[in-house]
Subunit: 103 residues, 2 copies
DNA sequence: TTGACAATTCGAAGATATTCGATATAATAG
DNA sequence: CTATTATATCGAATATCTTCGAATTGTCAA
């Protein structure tokens, strides 16, 4: 993905928050989307949990996650009826490096 | 300026190019806006030179430079009838650090 | 002071982004 | 198989961005 498209994905408050939350899911999602405790976070965070935390509609969050995914900033993995999203640390490091060295 | 506004400023191909050019004006503007040689670049690059290189209209470039300025990415200094723009290296380093450490 | 040049501001058209509710698809539980 | 839950896609309204040409402002030289 081109740098400009990555910056477009980052140019939105909610998407920026989602990225931040995905950077430390244990901290930002201590409970599951429906209040369950003791759940694993290795796969990432599901759409419903992100939807609740953003306060946006379900369709908007799904759309935003697609934007982040197309930009390479997150990766999705479907597990049964859930889709889990995690951050792509490499792409974040990459764009940070780009800003420091190529701009 | 908030990170999201900085990313909005970066989310445009022409503005990204302008920033890149301002990072090495001697290389990207060997001649002045009207073809003169041997001109100083310590003040930055004037709007006309950027306008020619982008191919956009003069008003658009002026507008874009204001967006970059509001985001803190460039600083302007008027010198007679010209306005010179230079990069604000500190803000670029800052946003790079933000991406690496706070997101 | 007037004319030319540089830059900014204004007003508007078209394109893209935001955001929603409704609908469709996919997976699971009964 | 059917109802339920999770997510994705569709269609549309509104907002913001892109970009221009025209008008305005600021500066300098004759």
């Amino acid at each position: 993905m081109e740098p400009v498209d990555i910056f477009k994905a980052l140019a939105n408050e909610s998407r920026l928050k989602i990225l931040k939350w995905l950077g430390d899911p244990e901290r930002y999602f201590p409970d599951g989307p429906n209040g369950e405790k003791h759940h694993s976070m290795t796969l990432g965070v599901c759409v419903g949990a992100l939807q609740k935390k953003t306060g946006l509609s379900q369709s908007t969050v799904s759309h935003y996650l697609l934007i982040l995914q197309k930009a390479g900033l997150v990766v999705a993995s479907r597990q049964g009826q859930w889709t889990y999203y995690k951050r792509n640390e490499k792409s974040l490091k990459g764009i940070s490096k780009y800003l420091k060295e190529e701009i």
